[in-house]
Amino acid sequence: MSVARIEVDGLSKVLGGVTVVNNVSFQVDPGQIMGLIGPNGAGKTTMFNLISGVLRPDAGKLRVNGRDVTGLPPYRLARHGIVRSFQLSRELDRLSVLDNVLLAAPSHPGETLGGALFRPFAVRRAETELTRTAREMLALVSLTPHESKPAGALSGGQKKLLELARALMAGADTILLDEIAAGVAPHLVEEIIAIVQKLNRDLGKTFLIIEHNVGFIRALTSRVVVMAAGELLAEGSFDHVSRNPAVIESYLGQAA
């Protein structure tokens, strides 16, 4: 049995006096596309923040590829092979769209001080190569015509696509997507589904996806985890949990 990509073990987090995540445990296996669903305020994005190191858990452990990474800062977790997108897309507004994606390239020799000053040829070679890759990413998400624009000039949906391109460029094994389909035009949502499936099938990438779009979840995920009010409510295939009375209750209670 292979080691889980992500293992969340009894994680808890208190924010502003409120227990936002309460003793949640689950794991994401290699090659899985897992959904994280639940009503608003369930603690899903907080969970993402905990997994990516943006927040430190108050209790519990986090393991990535079997190694204990609890409490590590985001840049260290990133080096363990995790990348994430942001629900409220955080663009580097005054950088070009292309630069936004190039930033995600791991281990660029030009990013160190020494490299930038003393290895011009290696840097130029890497930059040309990576620019080609970055352009492929942009083409995947149909953002090619906007490549030279400042990222701040993109529309909401386009920013989401840029988040995806950036996450893909990072080349991480495990990709966390936070409502990547929100605000994106329907035909592009189809494309995103196809991209995720392709990456999963051909490259074995693991995905953990927060999404409210039911069609998206059903099409992509083999397994979902349901959170509500900070707790883990249910786990299983989407069809299975959508019949779970407690799950229905939590959504209805929210809609009411």
Binding site: P74, A78, V83, E91, R94, S96, L102, A116, E147
Partner: protein
């Protein structure tokens, strides 16, 4: 007239170096360093002590300045690099002010308000007065050119891209694997050591250094250079420094025109003009004369369409 021009250009060169350094810290990385004169002064005094008290050649002085400036920058960074924007500004301002008080007080080292006399100059022996002035200008322009080339290259490199991304949002680069604190530290130290270098040049040029040479008003002039010229753009920093020096020195010409004013008043008037200009630029053209260019750099454009 000629000699005066040389003097203005020499001063301009120093401000160019200072503006380039501040640009590395603020323009690229978003670090609001108001402690410019602290590092500037440290460089001046370190260099002076190295050449006068310890009898070393001037190059050692310049080196000492950079090392002291860089180390001080590292310490200030480590203490305050987690602070954001305006609070970092206040703390760095405090650093500069504390330095000024130290320069004043520790006069066993710095000769305090009496002034530190520096005989060593960055020239070859035996040149006449005019030739000396031109030679010094040449040295300063050379240093400024080197700093410009190095910093401009860094700004356009992937390293610069990471700095800019940190300026925009410090969470995204972190989640992409960049050690944000380390980058901020490096940017800050690069800036502070160059500011100290400028101080060293200044000290050996004016030959008498007192703590009052390192006041906040000088910092305001450097900031102004950056804001007017265009933060984020190294060429902008150069242009801004030239413009501000021109305005500052140019307003000296007011004095004979306004003989009814005392020297204090003329000096006050010059700063009123500078302050007002800063506010006007921030209000109406915050990106400065040469705004930062956003398009991807030429090196990255490959010939075959993607």
């Amino acid at each position: 007239m000629d000699a005066y021009l040389v003097a203005i250009l020499t001063t301009a060169a120093i401000y160019v170096i200072l503006a380039l350094a501040l640009n590395m810290q603020f323009g690229l990385t978003g670090l609001m360093n108001f402690g410019v004169v602290g590092f500037y002064g440290l460089g001046a005094y370190s260099s002076g002590i190295m050449t006068e008290t310890l009898g070393q050649p001037i190059v050692m002085g310049m080196l000492a300045a950079m090392i002291v400036g860089g180390t001080a920058g590292a310490l200030v960074s480590l203490l305050s690099i987690r602070l954001s924007g305006d609070f970092l500004a206040i703390v760095t301002l405090g650093f500069a002010e504390t330095m000024r008080l130290a320069f004043n007080n520790e006069d066993w080292l710095t000769r305090g308000p009496r002034g530190f006399l520096i005989m060593t100059r960055p020239v070859l022996e035996g040149l006449g007065r005019d030739a000396t002035a031109w030679f010094i200008l040449g040295v300063f322009l050379l240093v400024a050119a080197v700093v410009f080339v190095v910093f401009n290259r860094l700004a356009g490199s992937p390293f610069g891209r990471v700095l800019r991304s940190i300026r925009e949002d410090d969470l995204v680069p972190a989640t992409l694997g960049k050690n944000v604190l380390a980058y901020r530290l490096k940017a800050f130290v690069l800036g502070s050591s160059v500011m100290a270098l400028a101080g060293s040049l200044y000290a050996h040029y004016v030959q008498t250094v007192t703590p009052d040479n390192f006041t906040t008003q000088v910092a305001v002039l450097v900031w102004m250079s950056l804001i007017v010229g265009g933060a984020g753009n190294m060429k902008g920093a150069v242009l801004g420094a030239l413009v501000v020096t021109a305005i500052y020195e140019g307003t000296r010409f007011l004095a004979p025109l306004m003989e009814f004013l005392t020297p204090t008043q003329v000096s006050a008037l010059r700063f009123i003009i500078i302050g007002t200009l800063l506010i006007v630029v921030v209000r109406f053209r915050p990106e400065g004369l040469l705004p930062e260019r956003i398009v991807a750099r030429p090196a990255a454009r490959d010939p075959a369409p993607g």
